[in-house]
């Protein structure tokens, strides 16, 4: 979803070939996972069908990279709309951390132990990210590390918060009636 808008954003400055787009994309957004050529061309074909990009030149020869793409006015409008709309917040409501805590309590195991080891693992990850951010070559790289750091910190705050409420949660988990036994 966001790949097509990222490509539109890259095309807004100037028309480009697919290969050029892939390189620009990877430089800016591909830190975690570079985009594959196939996906670039598939996305461009889709955008072309939707009228959001157009081919403005085809060089002699064969292969998909001979086409030069440009954003259309519909594409610009679409990009405007996308950037102007807030994203749906996506809290991971049934995250595996939550499930593990409840299953631990249900089965009489130590949820506290799980939360402690999870906290240690999270702190290790945050330490590695802090080092990566310090060594980041660009503000963009640093902010990407920050993005991950803030999210891990949110998990940690939840871990601490849950740990302080484990006794109440344990009672509640035990008291939930099984509907089949009604």
């Amino acid at each position: 979803m966001s790949v097509s808008y990222a490509l539109l954003g890259l095309l807004e400055g100037s028309s480009r070939h697919g290969y050029d787009l892939k390189r620009s994309y990877d430089r800016r957004f591909g830190e975690v996972k570079p985009i594959r050529f196939g996906q670039v061309y598939r996305t461009l074909s889709q955008l072309e069908r939707d009228g959001r990009v157009e081919v403005v030149g085809v060089e002699a020869g064969s292969g998909p990279d001979r086409k030069r793409y440009s954003i259309t006015s519909e594409g610009v409008t679409d990009l405007d709309t996308w950037l102007g709309e807030p994203e749906e917040p996506q809290p991971h409501r049934q995250s595996v951390l939550f499930t593990k805590v409840v299953v631990a309590l249900l089965s009489g195991r130590s949820a506290e132990h799980f939360l402690d080891v999870q906290r240690a693992r999270h702190l290790d990850a945050m330490k590695a990210l802090t080092t990566a951010r310090r060594n980041a070559a660009t503000t963009q790289d640093a902010l990407l590390a920050d993005f991950q750091l803030f999210h891990l910190e949110a998990d940690l705050r939840w871990i601490d918060h849950t740990e302080s409420r484990l006794a109440t949660l344990a009672e509640e988990v035990r008291d939930v009636p099984d509907p089949r036994r009604r």
Partner: protein, 229 residues
């Protein structure tokens, strides 16, 4: 690395409240260690006991192999002035003194001449990005600047251990990062050991190791464990 500071089976109560109930911790020379834990877990009390600001009811504190918890007040005060440095949440700068004099304070208290002390304090200004603010009073500094002055003050006498209690507590995340980077860099450069109490994981992530305090004891029961590699 050799051991520089150790607390062994520390107990401390305030009235009926037991703040520490047998906490132990060992710090190696040059280590940066974060102490975390919920509010009221005893983490600040632990720092204050290790720094000689509080006397534990039971247990021992050793600095460089020497027991310091049973020293007379005067000797402990001397130790705090000469080999320890302190940074607190709200800087606690002397409001009547300009930044550079606040930085020079530990040297002046240790008996250095004013001119010498100010000359030693001066390089810290540019080092911590405080060029041009040396003559400003604490009230005229931003939160981040004030905290950097407090940090320079903690480091100026080249202490062996810096104790920091929520050193970024009143700062926004950008200023907090700057302050932490400066603290960690300066500590590494001088081989200074840092013990900091924080409730913020992003701040603890700057440390070499994190220690978790819960209910006045080490949470994992292994000499304040939860060491990260």
């Amino acid at each position: 690395m050799s051991q520089i500071l150790a607390g062994d089976d520390l107990h401390k109560s305030f009235g009926l409240t037991q703040a520490l109930r047998g906490a132990s911790v060992v710090l190696d020379e040059g280590e940066v260690v974060a102490v975390m834990g919920p509010s009221g877990s005893g983490k600040s009390t632990l720092l204050h006991c290790l720094a000689g600001l509080l006397t534990p009811d039971r247990g021992k504190v050793r600095f460089a192999g020497r027991r310091i918890d049973d020293l007379p007040d005067r000797e402990r005060a001397h130790l705090r002035r000469t080999v320890f440095g302190f940074v607190f949440q709200f800087g606690q700068l002397v409001p009547e003194l300009p930044a550079v004099e606040n930085i020079a304070l530990p040297l002046l208290l240790a008996g250095r001449r004013r001119k010498q002390a100010l000359a030693a304090a001066d390089p810290w200004l540019s080092r911590l990005g405080l060029d041009g603010v040396g003559e400003r009073l604490p009230g005229e500094l931003s939160g981040g600047q004030g905290q950097r002055v407090a940090m320079a003050r903690a480091l100026v006498a080249n202490p062996r251990v810096v104790f920091a209690d929520e050193p970024t507590g009143s700062l926004d995340s950008v200023a907090a990062d700057e302050v932490m980077e400066l603290l960690v860099d300066a500590a590494r450069e001088h081989g200074t050991t840092v013990l900091m109490v924080t409730h913020e994981p992003r701040v603890a992530a700057w440390a070499d190791r994190t220690v978790l305090v819960r209910d006045g004891v080490d949470a994992l029961g292994q000499g304040l464990g939860m060491a990260s590699p």
